[in-house]
Each structure stands twice: as C-alpha cells, then as structure tokens.
C-alpha cells in the first residue's frame, strides 16, 4: 500500500514538473517519473509480505523476488545517464529555448558566476554547428586548433559590448558570410 501511494505521489509530481517551462524542472520531473517506475518494479517482486532475498535468510518461497531488483539496478543506471545528458542540454544552450528568458538561462548564470563574460554562454551565442566555442584546443577532427588568426577578414562582431543586453539571437548578419542561420530551416 505504501508503495502504491508513493508511486501515485511521484507520478503526480512528475507530471506537474513536465508541465513547467524550464528544462531543469523537466529533468527533475523525469527523475521522479523514473523513481515511480522503479518502485513499480519493486512492487512486482512482492515486497509487501516477503523477506529480504539473501541466500540463507529463509525459505526460497518466503524471500522477495530478486529479479525485479536487478531490473531496478539496470533501470537506475540508464535513467542516470540520460538525466546527465539532459542536464547538459539544459546548461549548454541559451538561445534555442523559446520558453525562457535569456537572462535566467542556466548557461548564462553559470558563466556570470564565474565572471567569464567571454564565455559563449554569457552573451547568448548560437553557433550553426552547435559547437561549444573554445579559445584553443582541438577541433572536431582532433587536429590542434591553429593559433594564428585567419586573414580572411570574416570576423563578425557580436553586437553586445553591453553584457546587460545580451544578443539572444544569432549574430547579426551585417558582415558578409557571417553565420546566418541556415535559411528556411526554422519552423
């Protein structure tokens, strides 16, 4: 009975959180939902009137079924990894979420906490490839990032010297061949 009530409460809370706007709340909703599912799996093993499933702790028939508990272990691992991925999605992007103000996007808050106003997350940048922008390091092919500044003259300024007014959209298209969003793909 207590498991049934817990499952009901968790599911209700999860549904409530799914309906929220922020990604972090949705992630928390999924955490609760997976807990509800795990408790249901436990209940399938008849925990209510049976003992612990340790070897030698009693008759086999009296012990709870260990298989659902093994299921729960597997499910916890899977849910944890996906939760991590979703949290990452929540903090790495600022401008793609049409439900939240840029000011309170987690990415921006994190960058502001570090005082790192050069961080891409801070001034709300969307790169077309979705890359995390780095100063140096390795590019996507694994080659070291060239240190020299390219002399193609295609630098596009992000018109926000003022951190209080972050440009939430993609960088302005004044410069030729600047990153415009791919044409016609926004729906």
């Amino acid at each position: 009975m207590s498991i049934a009530i817990a499952v009901g409460l968790l599911t209700a809370a999860a549904v409530y959180l799914f309906m929220q706007r922020g990604m972090v709340r949705i992630v928390l909703g999924f955490v609760l939902a997976s807990h509800a599912a795990n408790l249901m799996l436990f209940a399938a093993g008849n925990t209510a009137y049976r003992g612990v499933p340790y070897i030698g702790s009693g008759e086999v028939g009296e012990q709870a079924d260990p298989l659902p508990q093994a299921f729960v272990l597997t499910a916890i691992v899977i849910a944890f990894s996906i939760t991590m991925f979703m949290v990452t999605l929540a903090i790495t992007t600022t401008t793609d979420d049409d439900t939240e103000d840029v000011e309170v996007s987690p990415a921006r808050l994190l960058a502001a906490d570090r005082g790192d106003t050069n961080d891409a997350g801070y001034f709300g940048l969307t790169t077309e490839s979705g890359d995390i922008v780095v100063d140096r390091g390795e590019d996507e092919t694994g080659d070291p990032w060239p240190e020299k500044t390219p002399d193609t003259g295609t630098a596009s300024g992000v018109e926000n010297s003022d951190p209080a007014a972050p440009s939430a959209a993609t960088p302005d298209t004044e410069a030729p061949e600047a990153e415009t969003t791919r044409e016609g793909e926004t729906r």
Binding site: I26, A36, I82, F85, L89, D96, N118
Partner: protein
C-alpha cells in the same frame, strides 16, 4: 550452418561495441575510424545475410546467453523476421555512413563510434527474446542517437534535441512501467514463456497494452507522432536517413513480435489496430500538404507509411503479415533513398526549401532520376517494390473484407503521389532561381571553409572569428568551379534506389522470405519450442 551461427549471435552486439571504443581511442586517425566503421557494418551485413539464409526455411536460431538453462537465461533468438530487418538495416547504415563521409560529418571524432553503438543496440533489440532486455537495447540505441542529434544538430539546436530526448525518455519510462506490470501479472519477462498469456489473462493483456503503447510512441503512430516531425526534419540529412530506417522500424518490429507472442495474434483487439493505422495513414499524408521543405514533407510521409506497415498487425493473416513485412523492408530502403537524394541537394545548395530550388533536372539529372525512382516506388507505381508492397497490402485487406481500410490505403497513395509531384515540380522542374549558385557558394564556404568559431577573448568586445578556410573553398569562392553535387554524395541514394528496383523486379525472392517470416509470426509455437528446447 545452424550449429555454427547461434553461439555467434551475441557477437553482433559485442563486436560493434568494442570497435566503437577503439574508434574513440583513435583520436587522430580519421581514415582508420572510417575503415573500422564501414568494415564492421559490412561484416554485420554479411552476418545478417547468413542469418537470412539459415532462417529461410522457418528455422529459429536460439542461443541462451551464458549457457544458462531456459527460464533463467536471457535468450538471443533469430527467426526470418529479425534476420531480414537486420540485413536491411545494415545496408541503410552503410549508405548513411557513406553519405556522412561525403559531407564531412563523419570526420567528427565521435560520429563513427556513435553509429557503431547504435548498430549494437539494433542487433540486440532485434535478437533478444526477453522484454526487459529489449528495453535495455532500445536504450543502448537511443543514447548514441541523442549524441548524434546534438552533434549534427546544425539547424536543430538543442531545442529539437530536447523534444527528442524528453519524448523518448517518457516512452522508455512507460515501457519500464509496462514491463513491471507484465512481470507482476505473468511472473516472467521471457517472450517464449509469455506465449499466449495476453489471450488468457485480461490482467496480462492490460500490462501488454501498456508495453505496446510505449512502443507505439517510439514508432510514431498517430496520435503520438508529433515529436518525429519536429525533430527529424531539423537534423542533418545523413542522420535523418539513418534514424528513419532504424528507430521507428525497430519499434514496429517489436510491436509485431510482442503481438505475435504475448497476445498470440488475439483477434479481439485487431479492430483497434486497424483504426489506428488508418488514422496514421491519413493524418501523416495530410500533414505533408502544408510543408515547405523536401525533408519535412518526407518525414510526414514516413508517418503515413508507418500506418501501411502496421496494417499487417490489424489483419494478422498470412497474406496480411507477408505484405506488411515486405512493405516494411521496402519502405526502409526507399525512404532512406529519398532522404539521401534530396539531402544531397540540400547539402550542396544549402537549402531544402522547395521555393528556393528549381531546374535541378537539367543541372543534376542523376539525382533527378534517383529521386524519381524512389518517389514512384514510395507512391506505389510499377515496376518498383512499392507497387508490389501496396498491391499485396490492399489485396490482404480486401481478402478480410475490410473495405474501408483498403479505400483509405488507395486514397492515401494518390495523396502520396501528389506530394512527390510537388517536390518534383518544385525542385527538379521549372527554372533555376537567379541566386542559386551564389547561395550555394555561400553555404559551401560556411560549411566547409569555416567549420570552427572561436571567441577572441583578448579583444575588448568578444568577437567571433572563423577558422581557416581550406584550399578548395578559396577556389570555389573565386568562382572557378560551378557548384555541382559531387558523385560521392549521390552514390548512397543510387545504391538504395537500385535495391528498390531489384526488389520490384525480383519481388518473388523477398516475398518468399517475408512469407517465411509471416508464418513464424502466425505460428509462434516454433519460436517457443526452439527457445525452450522442447
């Protein structure tokens, strides 16, 4: 043959996983990564062909993993259906990877490892004989997909990735709940042991219904199809082609398998399936009417075709199942071919919008022919495989006297043809837009000349600079080369279009295999006997 193959079944999961790890380790060796990935997929294809040959006479290959006894073990089971689906999926994976290599997407360090993990999950999901294990392998499939979406989401941004992850996670949680209920009511999750349990016990039937609902979300059946159209149309063409042939189709396979074993083809629920499939066919095809880009039209058609494939569940006769399995195999090939041929245009000219393209028939005759073959096949005209598939499906519905379903299928076919003609006239006929070449050059430069962005932290205001352009880009920008789709981009689509022609002219071969698979689904006792070793 039938003695050698079963112990090798787990290798289809293990080997791609190991090689994916190796691919991640080879940081600087792009060529080695390409070779590992294509080699693994080719070996998987050969393995699948061997399985198709071995199961061609209705044999069911079983391997109890870890050699545990029946009832305790998690069996790997392969019959004609799983072998066929695995064969076609490995072909699709090869074509999509070739396309991604041509667009340079596959140069990313994690692309090939993700694809290999994805294929490991696919092999496992198609072979496993245990519902909980199916859930695990579906998750193994999904995790690299999230990575691919986030990586290739040039246009998608994280917005689409969020929808995709959220919906799939919700469906997975529901699937887990369903599995818990099945275990609670039936006391087992082994499919062979569950045989017929849904027919005898309403409680198990209800639990199975929860499982099927969760899988139907993954298969994008109307009314739970919205996530598909909002995510697939926004990622890159290579990834769309790969996903279109794999994710929803594994879910469809699971629906067939579970309905055949758990419900034993129970006839009381068939009308529900027919109702849902008719709605899926209609709503999918009508959704395509208002779309403006080639890919979003094709994604809506994907939904309507899923309706056609699932008619087989609603009929559950030998004829219906045979037609549906044939349809499933044909559809995977044709859909991917369409995604790749329009994707080749999109990747070269920088847009998939019908209004901004035109005159491609003169400019790219090879793509035009490839598209035409696949489009006519999708609409169901002879001599391609689509005609055979649709004809057989409609024949099967008439044989069961479900006249209204047959009528819907015919009407939707006409709409499909109209949609294909819309793409044809918009993209291939007519005159070229004046700025086509210019737009293509800009796009090419953006994609290949400036793949990297960085923030110059030293400057007073953070500015973005673009990584070094390659020599080819400079030549293109100097206007020295006219923009044309390179052959390596067209090749994967041609390959798949050739297969649909082959299956159209040689339908007898695939029909025979499909019939074997349908017989296995209709008489699940063979499956049960093989797994239980009785």
């Amino acid at each position: 043959m039938t003695e050698i193959l079963p112990p090798l079944l787990p290798l289809a999961v293990g080997v791609p996983l190991l090689l994916a790890a190796l691919g991640v380790a080879l940081r600087k060796k792009r060529l080695a990564r390409h070779m590992i990935s294509l080699g693994t997929l080719a070996v998987l294809f050969v393995f699948a062909v061997l399985l198709v040959i071995a199961t061609g006479d209705g044999t069911v290959l079983v391997h109890q993993v870890g050699l545990w006894d029946y009832g305790v073990s998690i069996p790997f089971v392969v019959d004609a259906l799983s072998a066929l689906v695995l064969m076609i999926m490995s072909v699709l994976a090869i074509a999509s990877v070739l396309f991604a290599m041509a667009t340079h997407e596959a140069r990313a360090r994690f692309f090939h490892p993700f694809v290999l993990v994805l294929m490991a999950g696919v092999s496992g999901a198609l072979m496993t004989g245990d519902i909980f294990n199916l859930f695990v392998f579906i998750e193994v499939m999904l995790l690299p997909s999230y990575g691919l979406l986030a990586m290739m989401g040039a246009k998608l941004g994280a917005h689409g990735a969020r929808i995709y992850v959220s919906v799939n996670l919700l469906a997975s949680t529901l699937l887990l709940v369903g599995i818990a209920l099945v275990y609670a009511t039936a006391g087992t999750v082994n499919l062979a042991e569950l045989h017929g349990a849904g027919k005898e016990d309403p409680a198990v039937a209800l639990a199975g219904g929860v499982v099927l609902t969760a899988i139907a979300i993954k298969a994008a059946v109307v009314p739970v199809h919205g996530w598909l159209t909002r995510t697939y149309a926004m990622t890159s063409p290579a990834v769309t082609a790969l996903f279109s042939g794999i994710h929803t189709k594994v879910a469809i396979y699971a629906i067939y398998r579970i309905y055949s074993l758990l419900f034993d083809g129970d006839e009381r629920f068939l009308w529900v399936a027919l109702l849902i499939t008719s709605a899926t066919m209609l709503i999918g095809v009508l959704g395509a009417v208002g779309e403006k880009t080639t890919r979003s039209i094709l994604v809506f058609h994907m939904i309507s075709q899923i309706g056609y494939i699932l008619i087989g569940v609603g009929l559950f006769t030998l004829l219906g199942l045979t037609a549906a399995i044939f349809y499933l195999l044909h559809h995977m090939i044709v859909k991917a071919s369409l995604f790749l041929s329009t994707g080749a245009i999109e990747e070269t000219y920088g847009t998939g919008e019908i209004d901004k393209l035109g005159g491609m028939l003169k400019r790219e005759p090879l793509i035009a022919v490839t598209f035409m073959v696949a489009a006519l096949s999708l609409a169901g005209l002879p001599p391609f495989s689509g005609f055979v598939a649709k004809f057989a499906i409609i024949q099967a519905t008439l044989a069961e006297s479900h006249y209204w379903v047959a009528a819907v299928a015919v009407v939707v076919s006409v709409f499909t043809l109209l949609s294909m003609l819309k793409i044809w006239t918009g993209v291939f006929m007519g005159s070229e837009p004046a700025d086509l070449q210019e737009r293509a050059l800009t796009y090419q430069q953006r994609m290949h000349g400036k793949r990297y962005l960085r923030v110059q932290a030293q400057a007073e205001t953070p500015t973005l600079t673009i990584g070094p352009p390659t020599a080819t880009t400079s030549a293109v920008l100097a206007g020295k080369q006219a923009v044309k789709v390179p052959f390596k981009l067209i090749f994967p689509a041609i390959l798949l279009a050739a297969i649909t022609l082959f299956f159209g002219l040689g339908a007898e071969l695939l029909m025979g295999w499909s019939e074997t698979a349908a017989e296995n689904l209709l008489n699940p006792m063979d499956y049960v006997r093989a797994v239980s070793g009785a």
